[in-house]
């Protein structure tokens, strides 16, 4: 039995999405094969990773790194690459 097909009856005709801003519901983190791990000891809060992350997955508070929110992190590894202090490493997920 095929399970991964949507029910056309519950879909808007014509490949349209009528709910604005709902791409947040699409958890692109599902695609990930690697996960970034942050070492707070090494981090100097330069925010370079926050600027570069394409998926808005680096959280900040009061101008400092507050952690990672991985629901949309695709594991691209950019944050690890740009970090000047090697405070982020990529691990298998």
């Amino acid at each position: 039995m095929m399970v991964n097909m949507a029910d056309h009856n519950s879909m808007i005709v014509g490949d349209r999405v009528i709910e604005p801003g709902n791409s947040e519901k699409f958890q692109t983190g599902d695609w990930r094969s690697q996960v970034p791990v942050l070492d707070k000891e090494k981090c100097i809060d330069c925010l370079t990773c926050w600027i570069f992350c394409p998926d808005d997955s680096i959280l900040t508070k009061d101008g400092k790194i507050a952690g990672l929110k991985l629901s949309h992190c695709k594991g691209c590894g950019i944050c690890a690459k740009v970090c000047p202090k090697d405070a982020i490493t990529m691990k298998g997920d």
């Binding site: 097909m5 808007i12 005709v13 014509g14 490949d15 349209r16 999405v17 604005p20």
Partner: protein, 388 residues
């Protein structure tokens, strides 16, 4: 209101229908034998007779991309092309139908290159057959004009929401001057009404996204929705034909029949040659032969049940194709055979591929087709007129 008859060629008649509809947007690229449509309509725009936004584009690909987008914003949109132009649009054809935009396109049917040839056959529209567009055929200039008005209503119906092709034979109809009775402009405007798009792209109060990445989870269900839209179009077309009869006095059917009722052998043909074949039928009837001819005016959706009814009890069915799927049959042949499967018994069925690249096929030629079939000399597929 009763209108005066006018003498007009097919392309100009299409432009006249557009003028009376006054669409919001028109973008098209000129190609023989469609050019007059766009030239004539550009004159209406320049003379201020319509309020249409007329957009010059650098290619047919751009034309259809623009028209698809414009239609998705909620603008009533028209375009026209032929042959290579339609081929160049091909990439956008299934996108327009999957986006469910009800734009209307006239196709001045012309042979596909190569070899290069500007004359009429159905190679262009048949090669666009599987792209999810509705498709109507016309026998003469009056019908090309009428179908253009009718097409707008079918395509925009909320149960349908699909783009539509209106076919008229290149040169035979596009350039031939015929006598037609146009409708009163107000009657046309009233008939087509206002375009009421569902979830248009430019409704800022209700933001929407169109034409998104689907993936396997949604692709097939979306295709299936198109199947439903197509199915609905059969009833919608019949209803719109009835309504059109009320304002025009002209009666149209999804399958046009000529002397088929008591016929033992019928031919099925598309476009202007339907008229020629009617003459051949008359000739053979005078000789006492029980023959008839029919034209599926509605080609997409394919009216299977109506075709099955037409063929019920017939001894012989001849399918006349003005295109060839090289290595197989004429494209309409297997579709007619499929429709015949709905009946308990099958007629004998023959395929004639005729008139490719605009070879003139006359009344006597069509009479010969009937005679050859009757004599038992016809093969399953016959390359009519070619020395084999």
């Amino acid at each position: 209101m009763k209108q005066k008859d006018i003498a007009i060629n097919g392309d100009s008649a299409v432009a006249l229908a557009w003028k009376q509809i006054n669409p919001d947007v028109c973008a098209a690229y000129p190609i023989t034998p469609q050019t007059i449509i766009v030239e004539k309509f550009a004159e209406y725009v320049a003379d201020g007779e319509v309020t249409t936004e007329f957009i010059c584009v650098e290619s047919e690909h751009s034309a259809l991309t623009l028209c698809t987008t414009s239609s998705s914003t909620g603008a009533r949109t028209v375009t026209a092309t032929a042959s290579q132009g339609l081929a160049y649009m091909w990439e956008m054809l299934p996108i327009a139908s999957s986006m469910r935009v009800p734009l209307v396109m006239a196709v001045a049917n012309r042979a596909l290159s190569g070899p290069i040839d500007i004359h009429n056959d159905h190679g262009d529209v048949m090669s666009a057959r599987d792209c999810g567009w509705l498709s109507l055929f016309s026998e003469n200039v009056q019908e090309a004009y009428d179908m253009m008005i009718i097409a707008t209503r079918i395509a925009e119906h909320h149960d349908v929401q699909l783009p539509i092709l209106v076919n008229l034979d290149g040169f035979i109809l596009t350039h031939a001057v015929e006598r037609i009775t146009p409708l009163d402009e107000n009657d046309v405007k009233k008939f087509v009404g206002e375009f009421k798009p569902l979830y248009p792209l430019l409704d800022v109060k209700k933001p929407v996204s169109h034409n998104l990445m689907d993936g396997p989870m949604f692709y097939y269900p979306h295709k299936y929705q198109t199947v439903i839209g197509m199915k609905n179009a059969l009833k919608v077309t019949k209803d719109v034909f009835k309504e059109f009869e009320k304002i025009s006095g002209r009666k149209y059917s999804v399958i046009e029949e000529y002397k088929c009722d008591d016929a033992e052998c019928i031919a099925i043909i598309l476009g202007s040659a339907f008229g020629t074949m009617k003459e051949a039928v008359d000739q053979l009837r005078r000789e006492g032969k029980k023959v008839g001819v029919a034209m599926p005016r509605l080609f997409r959706p394919w009216p299977i049940e109506d075709l099955a009814k037409l063929m019920k009890g017939k001894k012989t069915v001849i399918v006349m194709d003005k295109h060839l799927s090289v290595g197989a049959y004429g494209p309409m042949f297997p579709e007619i055979v499929t429709a015949a499967l709905e009946n308990d018994t099958m007629p004998k069925m023959y395929n004639y591929v005729y008139g490719l690249g605009g070879v003139d096929t006359m009344v006597s030629d069509f009479a010969d087709v009937f005679r050859e079939v009757k004599s038992g000399k016809a093969k399953r597929i016959n390359y009519f007129g070619v020395k084999e």
